[in-house]
């Protein structure tokens, strides 16, 4: 990440073409060389397009916008596509927000209990709520226990002394950050055998290296998330190593958010990685 990240205001001025040449070139240089500035600028461009489509730009900004973003048939086509995505999502969102009027479990239960003594209704509802709460609690508790046991073991596997050793049952998987592999097929990791390890080598393409890194590993579609507070780069500083035990990995898609931590403990830039555990 750049030491002086570009402010939101500057990014918007840049995108609307109202920035002087020197600042323009500084932003373009960061766009080319700094993945985090690049992502932020592209996302800011999307926000600008959304603001235009919502009609929330000032007249001057709207005119600058049209000059830069509605100048060619291709640009107009892109704007229309973004508008279609937004309108579709808003339509879907509105439908999802609408209260459900018929055939809910509650309605069916009410029908069944109709005509029964008055106390039956609250009792039945209370029982159902208790069953649901208990099921959720048991499920969460099991997952939490699994994660707690895992966190100590993962920390041990990734300490510098352990990293110097190469266990016999260990496979190595190299992952590129999502910022450079958007068009690529997602990396697949075959479910490792019980008792073995997987070492993820997370390619670090940011300009600066850090003495330590922190990762949050999340299994998509579940509450499972594991923070690994201390990770270290390999000898040539091109990748960060993270070892995970086989029993930690279940079938599914995992997202890893990796951040650099400087000597003062400040969290630096973040890269994202994704992999699928199959088999």
């Amino acid at each position: 990440m750049s030491e002086n990240p570009i402010t939101e205001v500057k990014m918007r001025q840049f995108l609307l073409g109202t920035l002087d040449d020197i600042e323009r070139q500084q932003i373009e240089t960061l766009f080319i060389t700094d993945p985090s500035s690049r992502e932020r600028l592209l996302a800011a461009e999307q926000d600008l397009i959304e603001d235009y489509l919502e009609g929330s730009l000032t007249t001057a900004d709207r005119e600058s916008f049209l000059l830069h973003y509605a100048d060619t048939p291709e640009q107009l086509q892109k704007l229309r596509i973004t508008q279609t995505v937004r309108e579709w999502a808003i339509k879907k969102g509105t439908a999802a927000d609408r209260p459900i009027a018929t055939t809910t479990i509650w309605n069916r239960l009410r029908d069944i209990l109709q005509g029964r003594p008055v106390f039956v209704v609250p009792l039945a509802v209370t029982a159902i709520i208790l069953i649901v709460i208990a099921a959720v609690w048991v499920n969460r508790r099991t997952e939490r226990n699994h994660l707690q046991v895992g966190s100590e073991e993962i920390a041990r596997l990734n300490d510098p002394a352990s990293l110097r050793q190469t266990p016999p049952l260990m496979s190595i998987v190299v992952l590129s950050p999502l910022s450079v592999r958007s068009a690529e097929k997602e990396a697949e990791v075959a479910k490792p055998a019980t008792g073995s390890l997987v070492e993820l080598r997370l390619l670090w393409l940011q300009k600066e290296d850090y003495p330590k890194y922190q990762a949050v590993v999340r299994r998509v579609g579940s509450d499972e998330s594991q923070t690994v507070p201390a990770l270290y780069s390999d000898a040539d500083r091109s990748a960060i190593r993270m070892r995970l035990p086989a029993h930690f990995l279940r079938r599914g898609t995992y997202l890893v958010e990796l951040s650099g931590i400087d000597a003062r403990g400040t969290v630096g830039p973040t890269e994202e990685y994704k992999f699928i555990v199959s088999g």
Binding site: F31, A43, L66, Q77, T82, G93, L178
Partner: protein
């Protein structure tokens, strides 16, 4: 190897040898170099577009053609990030072609958000929506839900909604924004391809 050559621009004068040298100069790891190359092409095209140059893709080809002529020497003498050299060439091109840049655009009729729709536009809108539905099916369920939720609200409600979404996903609004941007980028490319193929089939 064949796949990498497919990444070369179709109308470029860059010879395969020079293309190999460009890749080697970008990064010694050939696979990573190919990714950097694709991204650099995209970024330079974007910079030409932001500078309101006509034919941004043609100008990007021109940058690579110019660098290709010098790359053999550059890879031994140039110090620093090679991408900055490409950017320098792009900057020179922007200065060289002021005549090709538009200085004015008529706002009449181009403010499509404010223009009433006509029959032809209605038909195109239906096509876009059909393609959107097709492309949404190509996304994973997680991505589909994220992108639809991300764009589900407007104005102030949108800001609150995205903050809630980020909290629910255990991430920052900034990271969520970048994630949504990536998904939407892929979705738009898919819709563009779908529109093109349906239009050419008619």
């Amino acid at each position: 190897m064949k796949d990498l050559y497919e990444k070369m621009p179709r109308h470029s004068a860059v010879q395969p040898d020079s293309f190999d040298e460009i890749l080697a100069w970008l990064n010694p790891d050939r696979e990573l170099a190919a990714k950097l190359y694709v991204q650099l092409r995209h970024d330079l095209t974007k910079i030409f577009t932001w500078n309101r140059c006509l034919d941004p893709e043609g100008l990007t080809d021109e940058v690579f053609d110019r660098v290709a002529k010098k790359v053999h020497q550059l890879m031994h003498t140039y110090e620093g990030d090679p991408r900055l050299f490409f950017y320098g060439v792009a900057r020179n091109l922007i200065k060289e072609i002021p005549k090709r840049m538009k200085t004015q655009v008529s706002l009449e009729g181009s403010d499509f958000a404010a223009t009433p729709t006509h029959k032809a536009e209605d038909e195109k809108a239906i096509l876009r929506e059909d393609c959107l539905q097709l492309c949404l099916q190509e996304l994973s369920e997680e991505k589909r839900e994220l992108i639809l939720a991300y764009y589900a609200k407007e104005k102030q409600a949108k800001i609150d909604h995205r903050t809630e979404m980020a909290q629910r996903l255990g991430t920052s609004v900034e990271t969520l924004r970048v994630r949504a941007h990536r998904i939407r980028g892929g979705l738009e490319q898919c819709i563009e391809r779908c529109i093109k193929s349906r239009s050419s089939a008619e």
